[in-house]
């Protein structure tokens, strides 16, 4: 045989690898022989061509045939076991659906990637030295620092900065302005982020250069649609922001909603316009190196890692610290992925999502235990089927693959059913109250990410729990299974495994139930206790006079007039000004240095939440002063600066001392001294479940704030006052945006009560789902046990056991399993309650009441789940049972 012919034969044997292994095992040898025969008789070249074409044509066909056969087997097996399929798919669907719903919430709050091109290459640049509770400016960068980072680094293809502000916006002169969010951005913003306007252009580099020179704006798609009816000739028209006319030069694409998951800016304006839009505050923003309030994002240059970029910027930060010691001493910088930055900047949501994810994972685990348990008992009856099929020549890998196909079909079914449940959850989360006029949303939605997540979760669960039985099925003991007769005797290991699973299910569902009960009790405790501020009789209305129209002094005059007029309204008892109010998102941070305090290396200031308030605030808001005095009309710019702290701040910064008369440096390490003149009682500031946190009040007359909220204390229901107040405001300040007019009670009900209630409902739903799944698991096991023990029970009854005895025996077994689970669950609950107590005030670590209550409920549920199989066992006819064999 020629060299070529021999080579062709070898090559053909290799080519056979294209066929499925099983086909190859059956016919590979024959096919090589056939090739050899033809190789002997035919011309080489036509043979090679013919065989090549043949292989390419028939190999895919064989694969397809095999898959479709697997699928047919899987569908048949699923059809022939409707009970198994229904329980397994429903259990999984519940687990997957609950997880998908929480994922959609997590996605809306934390996970969804930025709506820009290649978001994975965009990182967050933030200052590090100040640990801040809100991270509003603690993680942010000043404009001069931004410029230095931009100009002195090579790690980035581009570095952008921006700041989202609440500004008054109008689209024509006749209608009153309304408050919205706008983002001040560097001129390279859209280009670096890869956001191409659907209409018009992005900013030119020159538009970022000279402060106040280029009054242009790129409006958001939503603004284009709502304010301009999607008019294609919108370019060149005018939007008014804080009284400044800006020419529309572009419209963002619909999917670009800004750099924050929740805030939806209505317009984008060059940062260089900040002085025009924000007055003195805007000039400070551009000039002061310690005005750290910009969000900075960078697109990494090709091949540069996050760590490399971080190292480079740290070098720049060290140089800046040397060049500008007054502002940059001990300042560090961090380059983080978008996700890392979000997790760090939003610890409350991160903790909440972490908790919900952990709890919902338990639900999925309980659901998977049901599936695993079902598969275990099925694999016992299946051993025979497998043995028969192996005996007639099916390969083990084929059987394993077929079981996996079955699992995949099940996963798909569960994933799709789960999506339906997730949809219910998503709709529930969409009712999350936000209670503000600003374009802020929690965009919970069922999108392709949730879809992928559910299918993935279904797949992982089924594979994780289907693989073990599949692999076991691949290795049965042929002879003994064939000998075992048709009874399908359960391997004792199978039942024991299932008992273990049920114990774990009960334990986990107790953990879930106890967690939801502990949270419910915690919130009840918190809500029934005084939240620490007045919730009734208060009307709130926010104002945003623009720096264009109002100097600081003019704004003060305006507010004095508004207050005087409001005091004259019927039933109004008192009126005060406040920058923010309890549970609002507008609370800001106060940075200060307590006198005589030694700061750790890398720290220059303390940062706490704070508020700027009028003298009457403490009376109006119902926050009692524990010592000292409230602010007075005499605390003005001309008099020494004063501050009021809460008890928590006093306890933290001056432990064991009287804080009255102590001093703070405000704003920076060499800021003005302010003397503490009062101590206010600590209350809830951000949300009702928070732990006591330090808080600093500063007087309105010593601040230069312009946007303030008027708080009216009324005799009786304050809601009817809103109309009168609106008329007053229109008369006194016709061109000032008034927004977020509502009663404190509404705010409290939505933020204070609504969100905790939603949280409790979510966790309670998880608890109930877990309980339901565990009960199904227990019921399934007991029913199975009874059916396996029919003969044994028959014998017991034949030799004298009464029906009550049999009933009791099965009940004892079921409830006994539950009790073991409850014991384990109680231990787990103790750990979980410690975690909850650290997150939600009102929850007490190790509180036995929720655990005991839920344990009782679980025992009752276990007894209910066992009663049907037990009574079936008690009805067994001994004669029939013994005849069965």
């Amino acid at each position: 045989m020629g060299f070529f012919r021999a080579a062709a034969e070898r090559a053909y044997r290799r080519l056979l690898a294209l066929y499925p292994a099983e086909f190859r095992a059956d016919f590979g040898e024959e096919m090589s022989l056939l090739f050899r025969d033809r190789n002997r008789d035919e011309r080489l070249l036509p043979l090679v061509v013919d065989v090549l074409v043949d292989t390419l044509k028939t190999a895919p066909k064989e694969h397809l045939a095999m898959w479709s056969q697997d699928l047919r087997y899987a569908l048949r097996s699923i059809r022939h076991n409707p009970g198994f399929t229904a329980i397994a798919a429903a259990s999984l669907a519940i687990g997957v659906g609950a997880n998908a719903a929480i994922f959609s919430l997590a996605d809306a709050l934390l996970l969804r990637p930025l709506p820009i091109s290649s978001p994975q290459d965009v990182v967050s640049v933030g200052a590090l030295s100040v640990r801040s509770p809100l991270a509003l400016d603690g993680a942010n960068v000043s404009y001069p620092d931004y410029l230095d980072f931009r100009d002195r680094s090579r790690s980035f293809a581009g570095l952008v900065a921006g700041q989202t502000r609440a500004l008054a916006m109008g689209t024509d002169r006749s209608s009153p302005p309304r408050l919205t969010l706008a983002m001040l951005v560097t001129a390279n913003f859209f280009d670096v982020l890869g956001v191409n306007p659907v209409l018009g252009r992005s900013f030119r580099p020159s538009e970022g250069e000279t402060p106040g020179r280029d009054p242009v704006a790129v409006i958001a798609y939503s603004t284009w649609q709502s304010a301009f009816d999607g008019d294609p000739s919108v370019l060149g028209r005018t939007v008014r922001l804080n009284g400044v006319d800006l020419t529309v030069v572009g419209v963002t694409p619909r999917r670009f909603t800004g750099l924050n998951l929740m805030e939806r800016p209505a317009a984008f304006v060059p940062l260089a316009m900040a002085p025009a839009l924000l007055g003195a505050e805007g000039s400070r923003l551009l000039e002061n190196r310690d005005d750290r309030s910009l969000t900075v994002k960078g697109r990494l240059a090709a091949g540069v890692t996050v760590d490399q970029a971080g190292t480079e910027l740290k070098t720049v930060a060290r140089a800046l610290a040397q060049e500008h010691p007054a502002t940059n001493r001990d300042r560090d910088v961090a380059v983080r992925t978008e996700l890392q930055a979000r997790l760090a900047n939003d610890p409350v949501d991160t903790a909440l999502i972490g908790m919900l994810t952990a709890l919902v994972a338990l639900v999925l685990f309980i659901a998977c235990a049901n599936v695993a348990s079902l598969l275990l008992s099925r694999s016992a009856t299946r051993v025979r089927e497998v043995a028969v099929r192996l005996a007639i020549g099916a390969s083990r890998s084929r059987l394993v693959r077929q079981f996996l196909t079955e699992s995949l079909v099940l996963a798909l079914l569960a994933g799709m059913l789960g999506l339906v449940l997730a949809y219910v959850g998503v709709n529930f989360f969409r009712t999350l109250p936000l209670s503000t006029d600003l374009p802020v949303v929690i965009d919970v939605r069922l999108d392709e990410r949730v879809l992928l997540y559910s299918l993935g979760a279904g797949l992982l669960s089924v594979l994780g729990f289907g693989l073990v039985p599949a692999l076991r099925a691949g290795r049965p003991d042929l002879v003994s299974s064939l000998k075992a007769g048709s009874a399908g005797v359960a391997a004792p290991g199978g039942t024991r495994g299932r008992q273990g699973l049920v114990v774990v299910q009960v334990a986990l569902s107790l953990v879930l139930l106890a967690a939801s009960a502990a949270m419910t009790r915690g919130f009840q405790r918190t809500l029934s206790a005084n939240p620490g501020f007045r919730t009734q009789g208060l009307l709130l209305a926010s104002f945003a006079p623009t720096p264009q129209r109002f100097s600081i002094e003019q704004a003060r005059v305006l507010y004095r007039r508004l207050r005087d007029e409001a005091l004259r309204l019927p039933s109004v008892q008192n009126v005060t000004l406040s920058r923010a109010f309890p549970l609002s998102v507008q609370l800001h941070e106060v940075r200060f240095l307590p006198e005589g305090m030694d700061l750790r290396q890398g720290q220059e200031l303390q940062t706490t939440l704070g508020n700027v308030v009028g003298p009457e605030y403490f009376e109006v808001a119902g926050v009692p002063l524990m010592s000292g005095r409230p602010f007075a009309e005499t605390d003005t710019e001309e008099t020494p600066r004063v501050a009021i702290v809460n008890e928590e701040a006093a306890r933290r910064y001056w432990p064991g001392e009287d804080p009255l008369g102590k001093r703070l440096r405000l704003g920076s390490a060499d800021g003005a001294w302010a003397e503490i003149v009062g101590v206010a009682r600590t209350h809830k500031y951000l949300w009702i479940g928070e732990a006591p946190s330090p808080f600093v009040y500063l007087p309105f007359r010593q601040s230069d704030l312009q946007a303030m909220t008027l708080m009216l204390l009324a005799d009786g229901d304050p809601a009817p006052l809103a109309e009168a107040l609106r008329e007053t405001a229109t008369r006194v300040a016709p061109d000032v945006a008034m927004f977020d007019v509502r009663t404190m009670e509404d705010l409290y009900l939505s933020r204070g009560v609504g969100i905790p209630r939603m949280l409790v409902q979510t966790v309670a739903t998880m608890g109930l789902l877990g309980l339901g799944l565990a009960v199904v698991g227990l019921y399934g096991l007991m029913a199975y046990t009874v059916s396996c023990r029919t003969r044994e029970i028959g014998i017991r009854m034949a030799i004298g056991a009464g029906r009550p005895a049999v009933l009791g025996m099965i009940l004892r077994q079921g409830v006994g399993l539950a009790l073991i689970g409850i014991g384990l669950g109680a231990v787990g609950s103790a750990a979980v309650s410690r975690g909850l107590a650290s997150m939600i005030s009102g929850v007490r670590a190790g509180d036995p009441v929720p655990v005991v209550l839920m344990a009782i409920a679980l025992v009752a549920a276990a007894a209910l789940a066992t009663i049907a199989p037990a009574s079936r066992a008690a009805r067994i006819d001994p004669l029939q049972a013994l005849r069965q064999e």
């Binding site: 016919f27 024959e30 056939l34 013919d50 043949d54 292989t55 028939t58």
Partner: protein, 114 residues
């Protein structure tokens, strides 16, 4: 199973059935038989041949001959033969084709016989 359910047969399957009508054969013999009968027009390449045989085995049209005495042949070769069901299917397909031909003649597509 009703043989009619399998009709019409894919051409390679019918050719293999025809080749096995006269007795058991191995793959190469089947291939050569088909090639000879069709004057080389129908080629049975390995993938087509064994893919068809695989399905025919599953459908019970053919079976492998396990106890072969023919020691002269290469031992590794597998021989196949028609099952009774396979023969019925082949007959059903032949009669179906006959029917088709008769109709073709009636419409003058083929010269009528005799």
């Amino acid at each position: 199973m009703d043989p009619d359910q399998l009709l019409p047969l894919p051409p390679p399957v019918f050719h293999i059935l025809l080749a096995l009508c006269d007795g058991e054969r191995h793959g190469y013999a089947v291939m050569r038989d088909v090639a000879e009968r069709t004057a080389g027009r129908v080629r049975m390449s390995p993938g087509t041949l064994y893919g068809s045989i695989k399905r025919m085995l599953e459908q019970g049209l053919v079976e492998e001959v396990r106890s072969r005495q023919a020691a002269a042949d290469d031992e590794r070769r597998r021989y196949y033969r028609l099952t009774r069901f396979g023969r019925r299917v082949a007959e059903a397909e032949a009669s179906r084709l006959d029917d088709v031909l008769r109709q073709a003649r009636a419409h003058g597509l083929l010269p009528s016989r005799g």
